[in-house]
Amino acid sequence: MVADRSELPGDDGPAWWDHEAGPVVRPYMVTGGRVDPGNDDFDLISHVVAIISLAAETRSPEHQSILALTQEPRSVAEVAARVDLPLGVVRVLLCDLLADGQIARYDPPDTEELPNIETLQAVIHGLRAL
């Protein structure tokens, strides 16, 4: 799945990928080439939780892995990290699971505004107690 960069064709101009950018991969095999999760984009810190048992049939092993992970609520970022798939791929799979009624999603407040005073005080209190 990981292509050796030296095999890539084209030496015109400076490459926009490099060592720091990580391996060159073809990650959208799992989604059957779909790259657009629809207008239903999941925030990185949206939480998802499975609402069906693990025995349920899913579209693919990757969907099954997500279902297993989300037996307790998890953030989208955490799901992506733990199933070791790119975020964009995980978003497509999550949309499938949502459409199939297999997960529930909880979004963070949809706002550019800062949290309210009570929440901020709770955060400060919690950090002090660490």
Binding site: L8, W16, P27, V35, P86, T111, P115, G126
Partner: protein
């Protein structure tokens, strides 16, 4: 048959960004306070199926990945804080937008050996109006400059907190985060009209 899980609703999630130049200590800082080992999530940049292809000089099948490390702190059963290290490469600004949306605030780590590396992050948060603090990472407890010197060098407004820290040290990083949230609290309070 399948039972709907009746656990309490997931906690409210908040996020704080940790920015700074390459090697400034972003992941180290996240790891110092996270309750889980920092996790890595990757975003793939691909030209496939995008409307805005600019494939000049790029093989159209090429994809590349950008890594973001993050950690988690459970504040209480109904409140969870995520710390996201921003991608170090400046060409991935569009990912910053996603990260910064809805963020509580940001920590910009400044390395006094390479102060200029933090300019881009400071500019970004200033323009976006994201509250931030500057954490001057002192490697080996070596502090060559005072925070006032750092403030002048970075041309930082007086109201933006600058503090020295050790990104490896849990207590030190905890103090950075508390300073940030207190800074946000001051901003929120001053924005609330007096009753």
């Amino acid at each position: 048959m399948d039972s709907v899980r009746s656990d309490a609703a997931p906690p409210q999630a908040l996020k704080i960004l940790v920015a700074g130049g390459f090697g400034a200590g972003k992941t180290t800082m996240v790891g110092a306070v996270s309750e889980i080992s920092p996790l890595r999530t990757e975003e793939v940049l691909t030209t496939a199926g995008m409307d805005t292809d600019d494939t000049t000089g790029v093989d159209t099948k090429t994809t590349t990945t950008v890594a973001m490390d993050f950690g988690r702190i459970t504040i209480n059963p109904s409140l969870v804080l995520y710390l996201f290290g921003t991608p170090g490469q400046n060409r991935f600004w569009f990912l910053w937008d996603e990260l910064a949306t809805g963020a509580l605030g940001a920590v910009v780590i400044a390395d006094t050996r390479r102060l200029a590396d933090s300019f881009a992050a400071i500019d970004y948060f200033e323009q976006r109006g994201t509250p931030f603090v500057i954490a001057v990472n002192c490697f080996d407890a070596e502090q060559v400059y005072t925070d006032q010197q750092v403030r002048e060098a970075l041309d930082i407004d007086g109201h933006v907190p600058i503090l020295l820290c050790d990104a490896r040290d849990r207590i030190s990083v905890k103090n950075v985060l508390i300073t940030l949230v207190e800074h946000v609290l001051v901003m929120v309070r001053s924005a609330v009209p007096a009753v």
